[in-house]
């Protein structure tokens, strides 16, 4: 039921008046909430100019925000690549016709999807730090990337699997008919199509990776949130700093989400197959942090 106008009549004079009144009340309520937040912040001196002027200095951006953003993008960027690789390997593993491979891939994916990312991050951070296998100052980054990869890679594996299930059976049959083995058909016919169909969900997962990279703050990885906190400590403007960090995350993620929505509209014309049943359900995994 996508045409939501069906829910209500083309409004007549009375309904139009009601909608107008509702609209005005709605605007007033929203403005009221905003006014309350603003006045509460102002009442505590959080809107004073001195709280915000540090963000006009180039020093703030050069030494705090940009290095932090750089580290966030570095961790997220590496994790995106490794997650896709992990997802492809285990997604294809779950589709394998060799039963033990299917089972192992299934158990690994289900296990990793059930464990909180933060637990994995803390574990890798402390385990790597004390093992001496990596340089101590690299341990946070590696822990962030590993934890993000294992979790998001598992979600992507499920995307691959449901993408392949969503394809019309004829695709595989046609592959078999021209003499491909099941594996060849999977690799050269089904997975490439599934990848295109799952592209919007995949991009939504990138948003999750970017957001979850902020958990690195808890394990001392110097990402954007860590740097803005440090800035807030020095300037005594912790709350304005948090606002700026949040605004940067929202801007990037909003751009990615919009891209995902656009793509899903575009691609809905391209892939004419059976609608991937699980796509919607899995996209909802985006709730992860």
């Amino acid at each position: 039921m996508s045409a939501q106008q069906v829910l209500f009549d083309a409004p007549g004079p009375r309904a139009r008046r009601n909608i107008l009144i509702g609209n005005i009340v709605g605007v007033l309520v929203v403005l009221g909430i905003l006014a309350w937040v603003v006045s509460a912040l102002a009442g505590k001196g959080q809107l004073a100019a001195s709280m915000w002027t540090p963000f006009l200095e180039s020093r703030t951006w050069e030494f705090f925000i940009l290095p932090g953003l750089g580290n966030t993008l570095k961790a997220a960027g590496i994790a995106i690549v490794t997650s896709v690789a992990f997802g492809l390997i285990f997604g294809i593993g779950r589709l394998s016709h060799v039963a033990p491979i299917r089972w192992v891939a299934g158990v690994v994916v289900e296990f990793l999807r059930a464990v909180p990312v933060l637990l994995m991050m803390i574990f890798f951070w402390l385990a790597l730090g004390s093992s001496g296998a990596v340089k101590p100052q690299d341990a946070p980054l590696i822990a962030v990337v590993l934890a993000l990869t294992l979790y998001n890679g598992s979600v992507i594996a499920e995307l691959v699997r449901s993408g392949v299930y969503g394809l019309p059976k004829g695709q595989r049959e046609a592959g078999m008919a021209i003499g491909l083995t099941r594996n060849q058909s999977l690799r050269s016919i089904e997975v490439p199509q599934a990848l295109i169909a799952m592209l919007p969900a995949l991009i939504s997962q990138f948003v999750v990776i970017l957001k979850d990279s902020a958990l690195g703050f808890i394990i001392t990885y110097p990402e954007l949130l860590q740097y803005t906190r440090r800035l807030g400590v020095g300037e005594g403007n912790v709350i304005p700093s948090l606002f700026v960090a949040a605004a940067i995350f929202i801007a990037i993620n909003f751009a990615l989400s919009t891209l995902a929505t656009r793509l899903s509209v575009l691609l809905s014309f391209r892939t004419k197959g059976r609608r991937p049943a699980a796509k919607e359900a899995i996209a909802m995994d985006a709730a992860s942090t």
Partner: protein, 225 residues
């Protein structure tokens, strides 16, 4: 093995999980309420409410939960001086619930909207044909079906919420599972892998039945069409 078992005498692991369960329980209820209201806003005929619903979802869905919970402590508690209880730890516990609820409400809203999308247009047309206006049509015809169609995505939000309750450590509920795991590993670094597996398994036990249950329920309650 004896070493490992002695951990449970020193540290109360079930109690830490109980904190996560309580956080998730209350946050789930509030997120469901707020998310349903937001979904109603988004399908309502009133433009300002549609706009508000969309803005809310876009802001909260795209902000890291870590930042939202930090706002809870620094913004709501420290600067706005909002106390939700007389006792300090209860107050901080409730602030963490507020943060978790506000964040997951955005996803509940999206889940319900996807549920609304499973309701055929004919249902709304029929509701209007028998003279129901927006709210009665939504309450009696659309939402009951939409909730049934939204069970699977709502289940996923609940699973995410349970896992995300570990982030509450950043909002100063230090007694929950991830905080305890960190303390335990720091004091017993010789048992780092068994400790991690214990906590990981705890979440697997919490989360997998919910996944199975919602899958079963969504099949069982699916509106036959």
């Amino acid at each position: 093995m004896e070493n490992y078992l002695s951990l449970f005498e020193t540290y109360n692991v079930p109690e830490a999980f109980w904190v996560n369960i309580q956080l998730s329980f209350w946050a789930a209820i509030w997120a469901l309420i707020i998310g349903t209201v937001l979904a109603l806003f988004r399908i309502s005929p009133i433009p300002s409410l549609q706009w508000f619903g969309a803005a809310y979802v876009n802001i909260f869905r795209n902000t890291p939960l870590t930042i939202i919970l930090a706002f809870g402590f620094l913004g709501l508690f420290s600067v706005m001086q909002i106390n939700l209880a007389g006792e300090l730890d209860v107050s901080l516990f409730r602030i963490a619930i507020v943060g978790l609820s506000l964040y997951h409400a955005a996803f509940v809203c999206e889940a319900i909207r996807s549920g609304v999308n499973t309701v055929p247009i004919g249902q709304a047309e029929a509701a209007r044909a028998i003279g129901l206006s927006f709210l009665p049509a939504a309450r009696l015809i659309i939402l009951p079906q939409a909730f049934r169609g939204a069970i699977a995505p709502l289940g996923n939000v609940l699973i995410a919420l349970i896992k995300n309750s570990t982030v509450a450590a950043a909002g100063s509920v230090a007694t929950e599972a991830s905080g305890l795991m960190k303390t335990m590993i720091e004091f017993r670094s010789d048992l780092v892998i068994p400790i991690f597996l214990t906590f990981a398994l705890g979440f697997v036990i919490l989360v997998i039945p919910i996944g199975l249950l919602t899958t079963w329920a969504s099949r069982k309650l699916a509106v036959a069409r």
